[in-house]
Symmetry: C2
Subunit: 435 residues, 2 copies
Amino acid sequence: MLTYQLEYARTEPLYLQIYEHIRKDMESGRIRAGEKLPSKRALALQLGVSVMTAENAYHQLEAEGYIRSVPKKGWFAEKISILQPERKSSAQKVQKAETAPHQPEHMLFPFSVWAKIMREILASDQARLMTKLPCEGAYELRTAIAEHLWNFRNMQVQPEQIIIGAGTEYLYMLLHLLLDETVFGVEEPGYSRIADIYTGLGLECIRIPMQEDGIDLNALQNSRTEIMHISPSHHFPTGAVTSIGKRYALLGWAAEHPSRYLIEDDYDSELRLSGKPIPALFSLDVMEKVIYINTFSKTLTPTIRISYMILPVSLLEKFHQKLGRCACTVSNFEQYALAEFIKKGCFEKHLHRMRKYYKERRQILFARMKEYTIFQNAVILGEDAGLHCLVRFQTGLSDAALLEEVQKAGFQASALREHYHEKPEEDLHCLLFYY
Amino acid sequence: MLTYQLEYARTEPLYLQIYEHIRKDMESGRIRAGEKLPSKRALALQLGVSVMTAENAYHQLEAEGYIRSVPKKGWFAEKISILQPERKSSAQKVQKAETAPHQPEHMLFPFSVWAKIMREILASDQARLMTKLPCEGAYELRTAIAEHLWNFRNMQVQPEQIIIGAGTEYLYMLLHLLLDETVFGVEEPGYSRIADIYTGLGLECIRIPMQEDGIDLNALQNSRTEIMHISPSHHFPTGAVTSIGKRYALLGWAAEHPSRYLIEDDYDSELRLSGKPIPALFSLDVMEKVIYINTFSKTLTPTIRISYMILPVSLLEKFHQKLGRCACTVSNFEQYALAEFIKKGCFEKHLHRMRKYYKERRQILFARMKEYTIFQNAVILGEDAGLHCLVRFQTGLSDAALLEEVQKAGFQASALREHYHEKPEEDLHCLLFYY
């Protein structure tokens, strides 16, 4: 029988306290590997908490690999030694660390697989590791990405169209050097780093308001925007998916003038957790007006700096003419390692594991929301994709008070209003939650 | 006795033909490890070539580790198995490949040491490999660089002043984002990539003519230049070293206006082959007007993308304010590996080996020059530093004809005139030679 003293006065939610007690008992050996744990109902009864709270504690332990559920038999403790050291403190991190938006946790990084591949790379074919790569990167990696996009995203891309760079911010800089236009459109609200970078480069940034089905086309038409930066598959922060009608309208807008382009920021499409996959805007484009950008920072780790963009074929000549002599910003070692990682299927496997993990986190988050009255009648939006969702509250509280309320309850959240460049005067009653 | 059939009609110089014959004999086992080779005089006699040609062949073989010289005993064949595979074809490369200026050969890269350090990094302290670094890079690496600069370059720098980036071109982009000024000065003649990048970023580039002791100060004073990009320790392509008087005058120019800065491009100071080390302009600067830039591309390999800049303390706050949220462009893995590489003394050792190798190459180059009448009365300039020197010819030939002549003789060279933005009308009679 598990008996723990829970501290109701602590700001830490009960399920996390239970989680920590069980984890410590496993680490100290009080709970042995293979031991059967009480059912969630029995545990709830023993500790005087709701069944939901007990279940959330078990889900957290399971998501981190401490325990496993055997259908019709119950919950069992796993062998602790198989756990990676950095995984131990994740639940504490959720509670304590101020994770920035867009920053998934990387305790899932397949460290031993990556280390093995890196060792193989270091031991073989040294000549190619010493040969300077062209600006666009290693052909092996670009081929691997093209195949991955074909299999996973149903995108038909030639490796020649793919440009590798050390992070998306660097790719934005390259795009600025490539395109002659200086008036960029960005989404309002949106991910503020994008406008920061463009503005820093001396470009004019026009904010185009978001609607429920994508950006406001009238506002776009009436602006002087030449290059529109959008995230049609999953907008940050609203979670909006651009409707198919609006996608075609956007392509039509771009086709009206030779200097117009759309930058499709597909930053978290691979972490889509449920629902039908959204086809890339790039795949609908027959007029060569879409520049596609994606990154391995979200799916692998931001500490390996590899992003890529896909240029329309018609831009390739200009790219080579203007930027062909630029040095590639990613080291050969890591480009070849990532190519192997993708080719061997490790990346697919890793994505599968990430999605499973974040689905469980989402489930825990939604279950926890039900424990608090503030979430009554709240509507969850954009929860199918990526690592965050938007919640619209039915409340008279100000956005600041609302945020304080949910943070006090231990949720990791930010106010939607923070992601506006022009802060709205009225309260939005909307918060972002990170899984 | 070594008897080889030399082909006098081939464009390949005789010493390289001899080098290849001996190398093949070593690889086939005809010459065994430890075997004594004929003296240079005996070899010259056997093959009917000059003693200088025989000596050049031996120097090339020695520089690549095929043979070694034992004082007062003669030349001996080394064990072939100890050679790294990529070293075998280097002499052919010199002959055939079109190596770009600034591109040292990287067969000297200490591959096994780097692989060992990388394996250690991958095996230890996984948490720090997964923790996103600030824009300026890993503190360990910045500390290691600061210590290296203190020991090797006599520069007093705080790690906080050092910013890591994926290549110098990326650092120029960061500088553009950091500084508000838009009128940049570059050296004429100069390394054309620098002006290309600045111009691509939409900045105005003013060419300031070079004189024998550095850039033309009057031209600088009379221009609207705000940020002057210079290479005072070893100018590319002329090899000019900026005199101490001109260094102080440059600092004075920068101090006259708050918006003025000097960018000190110290790209090859670590490969200074002889003569007194030139102190960095950065070390003379008490007005915080010099931004120092250097790279590991020349000294290690361009396939590991790590460069750095050092900002005056007074610019740090602005840097953090404007660029603090930018992602660092170099992966954690390689930053920590390089930090270890420097801390363990491997970098110093490697630099020593590089300098020794290039000194030998230079010696071979100068000896070969004596074989050709075209070099009679020619003056060699800027030969103390880096991987190239300038030769001023006494000739009535046009620059194009001159270049053709020396290339026919197997030299790797380019015409000085190619490195001017505004090509001079008259012939310069100057060629650049790469070691």
